[in-house]
Every structure is written in structure tokens, then in C-alpha cells.
Symmetry: C2
Amino acid sequence: MKGGGVAEKQAEEKSTGRARGIDRVIALMEHLHSRRAPTRIADIARDTGTPRSTMYELVNTLVEARWLELRDGDGTVYFGPAMHYYGSDYLDSVDLIRKARVEVAHIAETVGETAQFCTLDGDKYLVVLNEPGRRMFRISSEIGIKVPIPWTASGRLLVDHMAADEIRRFIPPEDFVLPDGRRIAEDEFLEDIGRARTQGYVRTTALVDRFTTCLAAPVRDAAGRCIATICFVVPADTTEEAQQGMIDTLKASAERLSPGRP
Amino acid sequence: MKGGGVAEKQAEEKSTGRARGIDRVIALMEHLHSRRAPTRIADIARDTGTPRSTMYELVNTLVEARWLELRDGDGTVYFGPAMHYYGSDYLDSVDLIRKARVEVAHIAETVGETAQFCTLDGDKYLVVLNEPGRRMFRISSEIGIKVPIPWTASGRLLVDHMAADEIRRFIPPEDFVLPDGRRIAEDEFLEDIGRARTQGYVRTTALVDRFTTCLAAPVRDAAGRCIATICFVVPADTTEEAQQGMIDTLKASAERLSPGRP
DNA sequence: GACCGATGTCCGATATTTCGGACAAACGGT
DNA sequence: ACCGTTTGTCCGAAATATCGGACATCGGTC
């Protein structure tokens, strides 16, 4: 529609179309991660701007290394077991994450609701660990997906060390617009942050999802700066009493994860 | 030995030392996985036979993509967060593994001992999921590490669909030698397998580790073939009573994971 | 049965990436 | 302060990996 669509979102290659295999592979993996589903080789080639013959060649190599796996029997590929091994090595190698796994698993199991461990990545919010609760209808974000800070409860904790105008500069303006088009007022957002700091936790309801409430508590470093959060994702109609219990649970876990205590 | 060695399975380098970037990257990641620790770039280059300048170039690319991370400030690198994201995508995409995560997390939490989910990879045993228990001294194998089948309790279940001589052909002879040099008698091993099949579980003690007992139960496909196991790793002095309870727990979990039931 | 689109393989040419080696800077021991 | 070792960057040359396009298959549709 319309006339002059510019339409270049990619804009990667500079001179020629030729690229290194490794760069093609990175684009390939990134693409699979964003699609989050087994994908046909030809589609990957098209969507990443990789020549078809090159993509076949690379996929063969990666399948052999178990980085990728052929799925189903239709010609789709997706991540293979090697990624799981390498990812586990990463989790084990980061002290805070290793401890957080224990906490998240524990509170998700005992409380029975989805629990998460989150941090910032640049100016976006990021779910690092996610442990689904016992509910049938799992409410849970996906690991490794970046989300605008204002959309989340945790986001209100993760920037609470910044001054007001610092925050305004830090968060891209468009990130205050929710998926449904509503706009979060910056003042209210800043108020939330202030209240969160004094209360030691945050609660948000019906932000990204109309029927979901998020409860989050801050993990702080020795200097008191919020470096991560631990949180519950629960149905909005959860009783106030139950929510209070979860908040206490979160605060206790967050405290245990905060470096600089015995 | 003897004369007639036929095939080289490796057969990688043919003429020159030159290799594709992607192959060097695969070797790099494999090396980090086997070392299981942040490693200096020069060391990786030496140990993988990659030219130093090439390795630096590749590492820079991979660090930018978050596949790798510079650690500590000394010049070591290790896996980065991207691996965790891709690995999580893999786990979520495999039906049996996704269900197994729930079971393993649940029984590890409720029983308080290390629980694992294991399969075969070729002719080796492989830990796919590992959830540490509440013990101080964590007894737990590492994810993604291959182990000879006879060294493990689960191994005795995973080959129980094969005939005796089929098993003898399947398992490399050297795999019957334990880390401490002791040799597992093939007959006893085969007996173990038979007993396991009738009992519906396996117990082994002081196999790889003198003070450790493993309890394992089979996950079977619709045809009754053992496709995976779920198991506990506990101290050898755990009371018989407690072990019986764990065996029941394992059998129940394994049953839930076995495809072909409501 | 002819047509169309998608899948996977193969091949030769050339633009490019790998490689070796040189170099500067940082480090550490004596 | 001296010297040997290690880390990280840079550069030109040449071996080769990427690319485009052709081709053979397969499956579904009209």
C-alpha cells in the first residue's frame, strides 16, 4: 500500500552481499530464537538474506555438531542439544544465577505459581530464569526475550537507583506505549518507582496482560543498587492475603540473593 | 591394533591447516565445554590448533553476539547468555524434556536429593537434566557429559531392550573399566539388566564414586522400550527405608513421563 | 497429465577470510 | 632497570568458502 515504502529494516551488508559463515550462523540462530519455532531452511535463508545454497551448507555443518536438529521430518530445523549443554555451562558459571536457580525453583515449587529471575540488558528488561507454577494455563514469559522496562513490575525496581531525568533519558519514549496501545504516564511510572523503593517490592496489575498481576522484589548489590529481581506472575484475582504471603516469600529470597550478607 | 584399520572417523584436515571460521568456532565451543571453565584465548588457540590471530578475530565476533563473555578481567572467555537463551529454546521445544523438567524439579525439591533425567547418546550415557538437592556437598554429574554405560545405574535400564550379545557388541569393551581401574564383569552387568527389567528400577552403589548410590527408574515409549531414565543420586549410607520411598517416587514420575497414557 | 512451487544437491569463479608473522604494550620476576 | 613472556592488534598474500544459478525430485492442484 501507499507509494514510497522504504522497507529496509535489515540494512546490514555494506558493500557486497557476501558475508562470513560465522556471521550467517549468528543471524540464523538469532532468527530461530526470535521465531521460537522449528523453521524451514529456505525460510531462514530468505528471512536472513542468506543465499539458499549457503544456508544448506551451514545447516548441514551445524546439524552435525548438534547445534541444530532436523525436526519432524518435514524439512524444519531448530536448536539442538549442544545449545543446552553450553547454556547450562553458562548458568553454572555465573554465581548469582546459580544461586537464583535454587531460589526460583524453590519458591515456584512451594507456592505453586510461576516464578522468575530478571535483569536489565541495555535499556530493556530481560527474563533470565523462569520456573512455571502448577497452574494448567501457564502464564510465563519466555527466556531471553527483551521487553520494555515500563511494561513490567521488575522494571520499576531495576532503575530505582537513577534520578528522574536520568530515567527519562534512559528509557526510549516508545517503550511507554503498551502492546494494546495505552500509554503509561511518565509521572505515574516515576511515582511507582519511588513507592517501590520505600516498600521494598512492586505490584503491577493488568499491564501487559489484562488478567495478570506481577509481584517483584529487588536483589541488591553491596552498594544497594538493584541488580536483578525475583518475581511471581499470578492471576489478577489472587486474594490479597495470598499475595501478601508471596511478597514475603519474594523479599526473603531476594534478601538471600543480595550479595554482602552471610 | 592389528593391520586392518579401515576408516578414519575424523578425517577433518586434509591438505593445509586452513579451516572455515565456523569449524573453528565449533572446536572452540566444544573445547570450552570440555574444560568447563573460563579459558584464556591463547590457550584455546593452542589447544584447538587454531592460529592465534584467527582465534582473536573469532572471539571478538562471538563476544559481540553474546555467545561468549570476557570473564574476570584477566583475559579469559567463557559461554555467554545467548547460549542460555538458545538452550532454553531447545528444552522447551522437546516435549519429553519439557515434561521431565517439571518432574525432576518436583522430586528434587520434595525429596531434597539430587535428581536427574538421562538418555543415551550413541553408545554413551548422558545427563540431560540435573537438579541439585538440598545437601551441602552437592553430588551431581555435569550436564552434557558423556559417560560409559556400565558406570551408571540408568545405563542398565537404557539397554534393556537389547539381547545379550547385542549389548556386548554395542558397548565398547574399555567402557567396562571403572575410573579407579576396577573392571565390571560382563555377566554381572547382564544380570543387573535382567533384574532391573523385572524389578522396574535399578540400584547401584559405589560404582563411579565409593560413597554414592544411584537409584533409577525407566521412562518407556509406547512399545515398552526404555528411552530415558529418571534417577536420584544419594549418599550410600541413606537408610533402606528412605531409599524405598525414593524408588516409589521415581517409578511414579517415570510412569507419568512414559508416553502412551492419559 | 501437465503445471507450479518448494526442496535439496552440485559446480565453477572470484571476492574474501584465514593465516603467519611482525610489532607494541603490558606484565612479572630478578 | 633489565629481560623474557604473554596479550592483543595489524597487515598483505593466497588459499578457499561463499555465492549464483542450473538441475533433478517430489508433491500437490487444476
